[in-house]
């Protein structure tokens, strides 16, 4: 294991984040504020409470999840796609490192960035609504796991993509709908019964539910199931990455 190399990749990627810190942070903070204005104030004023929690506070975990997932995917996919695109990938391939170091460096950096953005949103939200986190360790654990697994997922997309359109395709066509339909802004119990069943096939439901549980102690699905779901997703992504690592798929001919 070449930890110097992992650290080099990690630091290199984080330097990009720091260099563009303002835009990296401002856009999620602004969009979160917009969500609060629209969903929290405008629509939320017509919805009293969801299971005993004010609507404004209820959407906070979902909002954080929404941003964290998209940020983790876009950071990790761009991080590995860019060297492929401009050709600097040659250096990663000729270095005395295996894919494990490459993944730890890129996925680690992307997960750190999205974790940081997630916490920033939590901070922003606390200015808009009264917020109380019942279970901090569980909240952080869910957040870290989500950042990591979606960064892994993003890494896979970055390896797979052969142009910029494809890079945007999966986040736009798959992730955004899943997150919106995953109970970010509502409780699954508010859906008609048939749709509740459909929703249970949406993996994001389990993530948002578990994450919300760590805030308010209430959930759409049991917390253990949420944990299993996120563990399963992480495992799936890890297996895919392991396969890429074994075959050199789309990286090394």
């Amino acid at each position: 294991m070449n930890w110097t190399a992992v650290w080099s990749i990690y630091r290199f990627e984080m330097a990009r984040f720091v260099r563009t810190l303002l835009q990296s942070l401002i856009s999620p903070v602004i969009s979160t504020s917009l969500y609060f204005v629209v969903f929290g104030a405008a629509i939320g004023s017509r919805i009293d409470e969801v299971e005993g929690v004010s609507y404004g506070a209820f959407i906070v975990p979902g909002l954080i999840m929404l941003t964290v997932m998209t940020q983790a995917i876009s950071n990790a996919s761009f991080g590995i796609y860019f060297p492929k695109f401009i050709g600097t990938i040659y250096e990663l391939l000729s270095a005395p490192i295996s894919f494990l170091e490459v993944i730890l460096g890129y996925v680690g950096a992307a997960a750190t960035k999205s974790l940081f953005i997630g916490l920033m949103i939590l901070l922003t939200a606390s200015f808009f609504v009264e917020l109380e986190v019942q279970n901090w360790p569980a909240m952080l654990a869910f957040l870290v796991l989500t950042c990591t697994s979606f960064a892994l997922f993003g890494f896979i997309i970055g390896i797979w993509a052969s142009n910029f359109e494809q890079l945007q395709l999966v986040p736009l066509l798959v992730v955004t709908p899943l997150v919106f339909l995953g109970g970010s802004f509502y409780s699954i119990s508010m859906l008609p019964e048939a749709w509740q069943t459909v929703a249970l096939f949406n993996p994001v439901v389990y993530l948002v539910s578990g994450f919300r549980w760590s805030f308010f102690g209430m959930a759409d699905v049991p917390v253990a199931v949420s944990l299993l779901a996120i563990a399963g997703f992480t495992l799936l992504c890890t297996l895919a990455v392991w396969w890429i690592f074994r075959t050199g798929w789309r990286i090394r001919s």
Binding site: I9, E91, L93, P96
Partner: protein, 313 residues
């Protein structure tokens, strides 16, 4: 001298079935400069890529510093620096962050003094904090060399170091390479310019169609390439070469209407003037004279033909 790079029967067949390397055998000695000379598409870049880990060989073995590039890739690659053909650099990074990143990527501990010295040697020190996108093409090439040397490798691969570089920068590059040789690093470069191979290399390997046709000391290969032909058209056909000029390397062709004199352009005296005088003395009337040099392409064609014949035999 021990072999720094040992290539035994290296083969590379791409997924589409294209065979880019057809069993290459080559030993590269420690501290030498070897030029891989060949036309575009000959397999030069594939050979380098296979040694450096960009692609995987589909047959044979490659060792660098005694380490197999597949099974002991960490040890082998730690000894290698690679300068790619294209100017591929992260546009927004600085020279400093780029070389520091490369050093770390190859697992070497930070060493600011070494990197500073390296940048000075490559005349990059005053650009240390410049963004890479602001640099000229020649400077970018130097940054790529600095990145390749950032972990103090034993072997340096330069893939077409002067492709798309103007004459002045080309001379510059030749000087950089010979200065690097002084530091003891083994250098392998690819080129399709024969002058370049001649100017820089100790030995030249000629590669064509995925095969290494020959590896020879630069001086002896150049002697072969330096042959030139003078084709003397005769007013009256001859039946045989006149005895007075039989010392010259002469052949008669086209039913005696054409006299061909082969000579070495590097020789102190080519003997042309004396030959013409001797022919005039012998009463031979010359109607026209033409000279021809065998080009690199001719040499390739000749070598490939020879190779095919040997295969058939």
């Amino acid at each position: 001298m021990p072999a720094m790079v040992e290539i035994t029967n290296a083969e590379k067949t791409y997924k589409g079935g294209f065979q880019a390397l057809k069993g290459v055998n080559l030993e590269i000695r420690e501290g030498e400069i070897l030029a891989l000379l060949g036309p575009n598409g000959a397999g030069k870049t594939t050979l380098i890529s296979t040694i450096c880990g960009i692609t995987m060989p589909t047959g044979g073995t490659i060792r660098v510093g005694g380490h197999d590039v597949v099974t002991e890739f960490r040890k082998a690659r730690a000894l290698i620096g690679l300068v790619p053909q294209e100017l591929t650099l992260e546009p927004f990074e600085t020279v400093w962050s780029a070389v520091r990143f490369s050093r770390g990527l190859f697992g070497a501990a930070p060493d600011e003094a070494y990197l500073d010295d390296l940048l000075k040697r490559l005349s990059l020190f005053d650009k240390k904090h410049s963004q890479l996108q602001e640099l000229s093409g020649g400077m970018k090439r130097r940054v790529l060399i600095a990145k390749a040397l950032s972990h103090d490798p034993k072997v340096l691969f330069l893939d077409e170091p002067t492709a798309g570089v103007d004459v002045e920068l080309r001379r510059d590059m030749w000087e950089i390479v010979s200065a690097l040789k002084e530091t003891g690093v083994t250098i392998i470069l690819t080129t399709h310019y024969i002058e370049e191979a001649e100017a820089m290399a100790d030995r030249i390997g000629v590669i064509s169609d995925g095969q290494l046709l020959l590896v020879e000391e630069t001086a002896s290969l150049m002697a072969r390439l330096g042959k030139k032909e003078m084709r003397i058209s005769l007013a009256e056909p001859l039946t045989e070469v006149p005895a007075s000029v039989s010392d010259y390397e002469l052949t008669l062709e086209e039913d005696g209407a054409l006299l061909i004199y082969t000579y070495d352009t590097r020789a102190e005296r080519t003997g042309i003037a004396r030959l013409v005088a001797a022919l005039a003395e012998a009463g031979v009337v010359i109607s026209d004279v033409e000279t021809r040099q065998s080009s690199l392409e001719d040499i390739f064609v000749g070598l490939v033909r020879k190779n095919d014949k040997e295969d058939a035999a």
